[in-house]
């Protein structure tokens, strides 16, 4: 088990390295002089540009610049925002709680709707529940989440006046954004779980389990679910990153603060250090989430562990 976790960690190292290279190169891929890009909007004098070049070590070779960037990263220094005059790390820290709340809310909606619907549909494929659930799931995947957000605001905030559309104060204000964010994800989980359950129910060992007189309930939880849940767990990990990315549009629509709204604003302001910081942060969180999911998958399923030790 420990060997499996170590191997999985080792696999993540090159990806982590690649992420830093890509994020580092954002500044250098933008046409123009990096120092000038960093001082965008403040109409800098040539003297200021030269000073910044020196201060950030932008005048050295690209390799030494990357090395500096890595060293700064390891010290937890994500750079300095020129539009807000704060460190990027501090700004991410202040925006992060809002996005975490939203992502968790979306995850709760996704699992809370997706898992029961997927089970109900998968146990009796072709039945009325399945047809209904598949229809809803298809719509769930197809409706753009930012449009769903608008529909929810229209229905519950503008017409019925049941829930607030804007604001971040109460738990109530989190309901609509969470549904908008989690709905499509719920649809994916439901379809995946349904397909896996259908496959598992066709296996011979299910026939044996049924023949020895197990109740349908135990059949489902002890035999079917344990085998069907594996790839669903992987998808939850894969999709967690999309919850973080989806938060971008949702936060803009609901006027919520958070990493996504922050990122969009800073892209408009061309504040490159902030953009680099957020992109790096989200990618690393996503990487860690997938790592955790793989480890969890390995814990659940010994076959996965074995396939990794080859």
């Amino acid at each position: 088990m420990i060997q499996f976790i170590l191997r999985r960690l080792l696999m993540a190292v090159p990806v982590l390295f690649g992420i830093t290279v890509l994020v580092f190169s954002i500044l250098h891929l933008i046409p123009g002089n990096p120092a000038q890009i960093l001082l965008f909007g403040s109409s800098p004098t040539p003297q200021q540009i030269a000073n910044l070049d020196k201060q950030l070590g932008l005048s050295g070779s690209i390799l030494s610049q990357y090395w500096n960037y890595l060293v700064q990263l390891l010290h937890g220094n994500l750079g300095f925002s020129y539009s807000s005059h704060q460190t990027v790390a501090a700004e991410i820290g202040s925006q992060l709680p809002y996005t975490i709340n939203l992502a968790l809310g979306g995850l709760v909606v996704a699992l809370g709707i997706g898992v029961p619907v997927g089970i109900a549909a998968g146990v009796r494929p072709g039945g009325i529940t399945d047809k209904l659930a598949t229809g809803v799931a298809v719509l769930g995947v197809a409706i753009p989440y930012f449009w769903l957000a608008i529909l929810l605001v229209l229905l519950f905030a503008v017409k019925l006046r049941l829930l607030p559309a804007l604001g971040t104060g109460s738990l109530k204000a989190l309901i609509l954004p969470s549904i908008a964010l989690g709905w499509g994800f719920a649809a994916i989980i439901a379809r995946l779980l349904r397909n896996n359950l259908i496959e598992v129910y066709q296996r011979p060992y299910m026939l044996v389990a049924r023949a020895k007189g197990l109740s349908e309930w135990r059949l489902l939880w002890q035999h079917a679910m344990r085998n069907a849940v594996g790839s669903t767990v992987t998808i939850v990990g894969l999709q967690f990153g999309y919850l973080l990315a989806g938060a971008v549009a949702i936060e803009v629509i609901f006027g919520r603060p958070g990493l996504g709204a922050f990122l969009v604003q800073r892209i408009q302001e061309k504040d490159v250090p902030s953009i680099q910081g957020v992109v790096l942060f989200v990618a690393v969180v996503y990487l860690l989430a997938n790592l955790l999911v793989d480890v969890a998958h390995g814990l659940l399923d010994p076959r996965i562990r074995r396939s990794w030790s080859r």
């Binding site: 995947v141 529909l151 229209l154 990153g241 971008v248 549009a249």
Partner: protein, 322 residues
């Protein structure tokens, strides 16, 4: 499901033999499979027809009897009526004609981006799957790095580098989907490579390029068609998201994502301004998904013999990864 399930002459029994194309030609086979798939999967058939109509609508938009999408033709924020089927927008422009003309831009973006992703991603995936030595490791690790950025985030990185604009959106969406094509092709290529007929081809002295072209690509073909078809739905969504966030086309031109975002402010008074483009995006994604399933049934005879309710669908293939 209705209709005969066995492939073969029974599939087209209802029609006089003279109306059919000869079986032995490639076109004849495709036509027969199309009829068979249409019977097995009526929903997919509807999607195929709808997709054709959608493309026709976009292509023929200037010839249709609708208002100029940029012209102010009446009072602002009129509700849907016989005169203006989808109402008028915040400036008094016809929403229906903005949807029809917006389809040109939105769909073209999605198709170009998908083509870009397929053209870059597929060869990379084949290369990695076929070579299976260190180049494979390098290519797939690079794809892993790109996949480490959730789709929208990677697209926003491209927007940061290139600055907002129409061509930026195409590139951003295309690059975001490139690793998905590489991933989808990589696995099957690897297993094809282990087949005996590849070893045989190599034994008779075929060059790698010829093996890939003659023996690998045709096997991947059906899978690729399916992925491309469903990918168009997801690239539509991602392109619309970027336009919605204001990183794409500039306001006066009609576009689904941009119009949707313009209507958000008027939600209380005139919901139809943003409802119409939202419905258009939803329908496009639905069509793309069902078309993907339909094409899968058409190209893979095994699928035709299965009951539809037991089938795995292609939606999750992309949705799960992008």
């Amino acid at each position: 499901m209705t209709g005969p399930t066995a492939p073969g002459p029974a599939a087209a029994a209802g029609q006089p033999p003279a109306a059919r194309a000869p079986r032995h030609t490639r076109r004849g086979v495709l036509a027969a499979r199309f009829r068979l798939a249409a019977r097995r999967d009526p929903l997919g058939f509807i999607a195929a027809v709808a997709a054709a109509l959608l493309v026709l609508m976009a292509l023929l938009a200037p010839l249709l009897p609708i208002a100029d999408p940029a012209a102010i033709i009446g009072a602002a924020q009129q509700g849907p009526s016989a005169h203006h089927l989808f109402g008028t927008d915040q400036l008094g422009r016809d929403v229906l004609s903005r949807i029809v003309f917006g389809a040109r831009h939105t769909l073209l973006t999605a198709v170009l981006a998908t083509a870009l992703a397929a053209v870059i991603g597929t060869p990379l995936g084949i290369l990695a799957g076929y070579l299976a030595r260190w180049p494979s490791g390098v290519v797939m690790r690079v794809m892993d790095v790109l996949l480490a950025f959730p789709g929208l985030l990677l697209a926003l990185v491209v927007v940061t580098i290139l600055g907002p604009g129409v061509s930026t959106v195409v590139l951003a969406v295309g690059i975001s989907y490139t690793p998905i094509f590489a991933r989808v092709v990589y696995g099957p290529t690897k297993s094809i490579r282990a087949q005996d007929y590849i070893a045989a081809a190599r034994a008779v002295g075929c060059r790698p390029l010829r093996i890939v072209r003659r023996h690998v690509l045709p096997v991947l073909g059906s899978e690729l068609i399916v992925v491309i078809s469903s990918a168009i739905g997801w690239t539509t969504l991602l392109a619309a998201t970027l336009d919605f966030l204001g990183f794409g086309i500039r306001p006066p031109s009609p576009d689904w994502g941009a119009d949707l975002s313009a209507g958000v402010q008027y939600l209380g008074q005139a919901w139809w301004i943003s409802a119409a483009p939202g419905i258009a995006i939803t329908i496009t994604i639905l069509i793309a998904n069902y078309l993907g399933d339909f094409l899968a049934s058409m190209t893979d005879p095994d699928r035709l013999r299965q009951r539809r309710s037991k089938l795995k669908d292609t939606t999750q293939l992309i949705a799960g990864e992008g």
